[in-house]
């Protein structure tokens, strides 16, 4: 296990390095001059030259990369060319918001998705299954931005139970935090809940028709023990894989949700950085997102072995 972990960590670091090179080169290959984006409407050749000089944009790309990676290794991701604020601070402020949003969406998706999936499998062919399937299809089909606006209209304007926008840290005011996070979590989690429901249902149907379930029933175990203890536990491997993969999508999918609910998270930071050609911020967010993906993949692999001890990592016996 330790050897496997070390190998995976080494691979992850190499991947991260390659990502940094690709991102750095890729961003610079984008059309449009960052100095122009920074200069706004009052651009003159002298001002543009001064901006290029002050951000080192007139240096060779290799020199620029060397300087960037050197600073990044010490935790300095540079300053935003637009606001002048340190990128690390911006990421530090945005990341917890997106993580909280993703975690709540994941929680919602897991509870609803697994619950509905189990019910749909156990009540196969009954109205409960049709209902669960229909809701799942709806969850997959409804566009995020539309659902977001409808929820705002319904629950922030017509019936002002939740807030339409903004973020308050949980530590500052837990109730206000939840008041602001519930709607975005529903928007972000609805699609995932549908995916999880379908995966759970399919995996549960497989498990419920398997021999070990028949044996368990023959031994006289209760329905709850058979479904919860045997079938569901075995089905969870597939579901965890899906959840792990979807978590990455959640972070990137948060972009639209954060725009609708004006949450100053990672997605919003990324969009703003793209439109203002804010190289430093863009590089920082892409690097952090890549690191998150790599870490999640690693964690999912480790989780496999915890859920199902028959899966041994690294070929060890």
């Amino acid at each position: 296990m330790t050897k496997y972990l070390l190998t995976r960590v080494r691979q992850s670091l190499i991947t991260l390095f390659l990502v940094s090179v690709v991102v750095f080169a890729g961003i610079r290959a984008l059309p449009g001059d960052p100095a122009l984006a920074m200069a706004g409407e009052e651009r003159s050749p002298a001002a543009l030259a001064a901006i290029r000089r002050s951000y080192g944009l007139d240096d060779n790309i290799v020199v620029q990369y060397g300087r960037y990676i050197g600073h990044a290794l010490t935790g300095d991701l540079g300053n935003s060319s637009r606001t002048g604020l340190p990128v690390a601070d911006a990421i530090g402020a945005a990341l917890p918001i997106t993580l909280e949003l993703s975690a709540l969406a994941l929680l919602l998706a897991t509870v609803l998705g697994i619950g509905a999936g189990v019910i749909a499998a156990v009540r196969r062919g009954k109205p409960a299954e049709w209902f669960a399937n229909a809701v799942a299809l709806l969850g997959l089909s409804v566009p995020t931005f539309w659902l977001g606006m409808v929820l705002v209209l319904g629950f922030a304007i017509a019936l002002p139970v939740f807030a339409a926008s903004g973020f308050v840290p949980f530590g500052t005011d837990p109730l206000d935090n939840l008041r602001r996070m519930v709607l975005p979590s529903i928007v972000l989690g609805s699609g995932l809940a549908a995916v999880v429901m379908r995966q759970t249902r399919a995996a549960m149907l497989d498990s419920l028709s398997a021999d070990y379930v028949r044996t368990a029933r023959a031994k006289g175990l209760s329905q709850r023990a058979v479904v919860g203890g045997h079938a569901l536990r075995n089905s969870l491997v597939t579901v965890v894989t899906v959840l792990g993969l979807q978590l990455g999508h959640l972070i990137s999918g948060a972009v639209v949700t954060e725009q609708i609910f004006v949450l100053p998270g990672f997605g919003k930071l990324t969009i703003d950085a793209v439109f203002t050609r804010d190289y430093a911020t863009l590089q920082g967010v892409v690097l952090c997102t890549s690191a998150a993906y790599i870490l999640i993949n690693l964690l999912v692999d480790v989780l496999y072995s915890v859920i199902d001890p028959r899966i041994r990592l690294g070929g060890a016996r």
Partner: protein, 501 residues
């Protein structure tokens, strides 16, 4: 426009902006939205009033200009304190003006270029020496170049002043969370603190107009800046909301490549296209467009047709009224194309930015120009790319706009002077250059009006930039708030704002 219902003291006002401001450093700031935040915390030597006239703000009186126009004396008000508690005097003004002019990358450098020296001639008197008479200076000092920064804060924070801005203003800077909020609080040391009612102002960037409106309706924000016509229409049906609007000093139009072959700031060349070669082709393109209809279709009739660089609302030299703009004349346009000897349909590539409004302008222009014999091909581009391509001269036509300046010179010189800093059109005309110089150095308002009228006529006839419409600044606020002021510069002023009693 203002709302003068009585207000109570206290409370926090949240203002939704349409973008996240850039640096909060008056020397480096470039965005219109940033000016709104500055309006809350950084006063200027001069300001404009409700009628659009320049009035003293940190200055004690109007500037005194010597008879040769080369020496300007500014008297500064006494007893003013920066938000960091230090006092404002002539030396602070000198430090700020020199920084605006000389700081590398300063966005104020061009507008202060004629200033050769600045010195304090008394504790509260500043003298500016100019290389030539420069009448637009007062208008310039009524914008960011006239903002005075605390020299103590400048020394302490240096380049990082942007994260600790300290000026004289009703509110002082508390914190900024990038992409989320800028928080200001009431400055008890402000000279007019007795008339400041709010405890706190939060500026929140909410780029989507629909989301801004939803937040206004839910009460999460109280003021929505720069609302689009479609959202304004929708807000008008809401009983809890009120609308402020003011005409803008800027313009929006179509830039045509008449001589940009080597890039921005270079000597005009000859692109060789029919539209660059023959002014009759450009006039035909102009005549094919119905400005009224464009305004109705794209902006629900809530903006104003325009046909010149200067707003008719300008107090210095009023421009052409929308009712006097040339009417669409397809027959004349066809005749002009025929006289120019071009083969129709004439293909023009029109670069538009990727915003829905820009695309709709493109489509409407495309449909109208087609009837006159133009084949307009739309090329939607992301804004930074569009600027880059047009500055380099790689275009036929593009959507070109400007937020506008108080002094008409700010709407003309950089764009239409030969090798002007933002002359992406490659327009070069010695007579225009002479008129620009005369307009800048003339002190007599009546004569200036005459010069700018002639200048407008000349640049409009050249059709290098086809002026189409002027936006109006629409600000929507909840009715629970009063005292918000919106003037011709489009900035939301919150100094006197508060919650109604």
């Amino acid at each position: 426009m203002t709302d003068s219902r009585p207000v109570r003291d206290g409370g926090t006002l949240t203002v939704a902006l349409n973008a996240d401001p850039d640096k909060l450093d008056p020397s480096l700031a470039q965005t219109l939205v940033g000016r709104t935040v500055f309006a809350g915390m950084c006063e200027k030597l001069y300001d404009i009033n409700q009628q659009g006239a320049v009035v003293p703000q940190l200055a004690a009186a109007q500037p005194e200009t010597s008879t040769d126009g080369r020496t300007v004396t500014v008297r500064v008000r006494r007893g003013l304190k920066f938000s960091d508690g230090t006092g404002l005097d002539a030396d602070s003004v000198v430090t700020s003006l020199l920084r605006h002019r000389d700081l590398p990358g300063s966005a104020r450098a061009t507008e202060l270029a004629p200033v050769t020296s600045v010195r304090a001639t008394g504790r509260y008197t500043v003298q500016l020496k100019l290389s030539r008479p420069y009448t637009p200076l007062t208008g310039v000092l009524a914008d960011r170049a006239g903002m005075v920064m605390s020299p103590t804060a400048l020394r302490k924070y240096g380049k990082n002043f942007t994260n600790h801005p300290s000026c004289v203003g009703p509110f002082r800077f508390v914190e900024r969370v990038g992409g989320d909020r800028i928080v200001l609080e009431k400055d008890p040391g402000y000279y007019d603190a007795a008339h400041v009612h709010l405890n706190k102002v939060i500026y929140k960037p909410i780029p989507d107009g629909g989301v801004r409106l939803a937040n206004l309706r839910s009460g999460d924000v109280q003021v929505g800046d720069q609302m689009a016509p479609v959202d304004v229409r929708s807000a008008l049906t809401e009983p809890g909301l009120q609308l402020f609007n003011s005409p803008s000093l800027g313009y929006q139009g179509i830039g045509l490549n008449v001589g940009n072959t080597k890039g921005l700031g270079q000597k005009p060349g000859k692109p060789g296209t029919p539209i660059a070669r023959d002014v009759r082709v450009r006039e035909a393109f102009d005549l094919s467009i119905d400005r009224e209809l464009l305004n109705k279709v794209v902006f629900q009739g809530m903006y104003e047709p325009a046909c010149g660089p200067i707003s008719p609302e300008s107090t210095i030299a009023p421009g052409v009224q929308p009712s006097h703009c040339p009417r669409r004349d397809v027959a004349k346009a066809k005749a002009l194309l025929k006289a120019a000897g071009v083969r129709t349909p004439l293909r023009i590539e029109f670069k538009v930015s990727t915003t829905p409004e820009s695309s709709r302008i493109g489509q409407v222009v495309q449909a109208m120009a087609k009837e006159a014999g133009f084949d307009v091909v739309l090329r939607p581009m992301e804004y930074a790319t569009l600027l880059s391509e047009t500055d380099d001269g790689h275009y036929d036509a593009f959507t070109s706009g400007w937020s506008g300046r108080l002094d008409p010179d700010g709407n003309i010189s950089n764009f239409l002077q030969t090798r002007g800093a933002m002359n992406a059109y490659g327009y070069g005309d010695p007579q225009t250059d002479r008129l620009i110089e005369r307009g800048r150095s003339e002190a007599d308002p009546a004569e200036r009006t005459r010069i700018y009228r002639e200048l407008s006529k000349r640049v409009t006839a050249a059709h290098a930039l086809i002026y189409l419409y002027r936006q109006r600044n629409y600000v929507v606020a909840t009715k629970s708030v009063s005292g918000v002021a919106v003037y011709g510069d489009g900035l939301v002023r919150v100094k006197s704002a508060g919650y109604t009693r």
